[in-house]
Point group: C2
Chain length 210, copies 2
Amino acid sequence: MSEAVQEDVAGRVLDVATRLFAAQGYDGTSLSAIADEVGIRKPSLLYHYSSKEELRHAVLRRVFSHWNDVLPRILQVATTGTGRFDALVGEVVAFFVASPDRARLLLREMLDRPDALAEQMGEYVAPWISIMADYLRRGQAEGSVHADLNPEAFVRHVILMIVAGVATTDAMRPAGTPPDSAVLESHVRETIRIARAALFIDRSSSSGAQ
Amino acid sequence: MSEAVQEDVAGRVLDVATRLFAAQGYDGTSLSAIADEVGIRKPSLLYHYSSKEELRHAVLRRVFSHWNDVLPRILQVATTGTGRFDALVGEVVAFFVASPDRARLLLREMLDRPDALAEQMGEYVAPWISIMADYLRRGQAEGSVHADLNPEAFVRHVILMIVAGVATTDAMRPAGTPPDSAVLESHVRETIRIARAALFIDRSSSSGAQ
DNA sequence: CCTACCGATCGGTAGG
DNA sequence: CCTACCGATCGGTAGG
């Protein structure tokens, strides 16, 4: 549903635009190319979205809207207990892995329109960064979180690691590896491990394997 | 020098193209726009670089070439001793902070041409990732590095964290913060802290401040 | 390094 | 949802 196959034309345009903007960028994608894939003519597309800029906004709006949908669940997971950290990161990872286009669009927007995105980040993401940061500060006060950790910077790093990691799996995959494969999974596992190790003090010194 | 102000026209074209490709992307930058800033006409630009595609390659070639210049020093730092980890990460960070356009170009290329870049990564970056990974495996064998760390994935994560971090400082800066400022510095410090904490076992449990 | 010019494609409009 | 068409701009060439 939602970001999947849609019946109505406007929805199909939105799906195709999302995919092409993510893959080739806004400037690298023409309205004709989008219309062609949908199976209509360019003027018909412009009936549903009166300009290319409006289509861009519609695409981004849906991504942020979906983020707001899952946010309550993520925050609930966050404040449930200390051991839930993996689940929390897992939720954020799942959001982007479920549709890597979200990560690519976000990363492209960071590069193409840093100021405009910084504003939207302030609206949609900043609040939950603050909540997470406060949570980390409580952890520092009770000694479970590294004292020299920079709460806001840490949260931003983890988000960036997740977003950039998902968005660039194709380019960062080891040498001759085929696309897709299990690379993403081991990458995600290492993301969680790094975030965890950089966050909590000790956790019994050595760990898991060996 | 090199990536700074140049006397000859070809060099100035390369400088301007690097800056504009990094800021607006390849498709978002016209040859006329580049020529205008250099102070020449488009056909004159096409005398020095016979196509836009060739100009793109020249821009990327110089970034990778500079990377190869600093690589020996980085590897020397890497193999000098365990305590040199900060210096190693610092060298890589310095490479991108010295010219954030390098990070933006690389990230854009990962998004625009993942396959082409994966090839170039295999040529320029993969060798030193292997060296670093072997080094980490030795650390695991002697117990100084977390046993459950995935060596290749870890190195890729740190690189990605640095590249994405430098490339997106403008968009990721906290809400109303003015551009530039000291945000980058504290961001970089947290990058190093995270990498360090996710790498080494123990290091006396608590740490630095407080 | 220039002027002059090319066909192709861009986002968008008119009008139905 | 279409055909027909717009001016502007694209990368690139001719020819000097």
